[in-house]
Amino acid sequence: MPISIPKENASVADQASLTFESPVLTKPKGGSDSGPTLEDLSGLTKTVIRAEPNAMDPPFGQALAVGDMLLCGQRPGEWLAVGEASDCAAFVDGLDRSGHVSVIDHTHSRAMFRLSGSAAPKVLEKICSLDWSDAMTPTGAVVSASVAKVTCDIARVDSDDGAPAYLIACDRSFGQYLFDAIADAGTEFDLRAL
């Protein structure tokens, strides 16, 4: 008996026409302009590239701006490209495919938030056991860890004004929970959900 393949799995190209819906449906009210901000960026294109560990820059644990796109070395031999769909597609097209390389679009399977502001490290410290000091995780650092018990990939990419900012990505099904958990941890710092 032939195996039937659902259409959504038949071709990656077909997925380009899917409308993106964020897993974050509700956002807590409150906060102030002086507090940190939490923004839902789940709609950004997220492409995971796997290759030999030294196949390209940046190395594991670091992020690199490639044009308007961000490339994160999130595991040895695994990179996450984050940005607009056209930038990610152009980057993927230009990859050296001579070795063993795999490219998977995670846009619809991962939620992504941006937590920024001078109190952002303090918010993260409440719900993640890593050391969020500037010495251990400066801007450009990429780590994976549990945040409020959810396994997350985190890249620190500070704002233009120098304020700490973190891109936090988790599985889509945890998106609403994690958004609420981060917002809750930020309440005492007057966090504002955008």
Binding site: R75, S129, V143, S144
Partner: protein, 90 residues
């Protein structure tokens, strides 16, 4: 809290990792007896002292590695090396 030294991620809370078990050589599946397989899968030495064990960095780099721990003090000794999967189930 147990701090586990991941060779890729550095010291991590043990809750970020999964304990796989004691690390040891895997017997040759072509020649091992049933008793040897059973011993490999289920029988642990459980020494009081230095023990080589496999950990999986579940929330971090998602790699298996072997670390050496003193079971009487919970201190890790001899920093583990990345890719050292001897006895691991990767």
């Amino acid at each position: 809290m147990l701090l586990v030294p991941c060779p890729n991620c550095g010291p991590r809370n043990a809750s970020d990792l999964r304990y796989v078990g004691e690390a040891g050589p895997r017997p040759d599946p072509n020649t091992a007896t049933e008793a040897e397989w059973r011993s490999y899968l289920y029988i642990e030495d459980n020494p009081a002292g230095l023990l080589r064990e496999t950990w999986y960095c579940r929330a971090g780099c998602r790699r298996y590695f072997v670390a050496e721990r003193d079971t009487t003090s919970n201190e890790f000794v001899n920093s583990p090396l990345p890719g050292n999967k001897i006895g691991g189930k990767a």
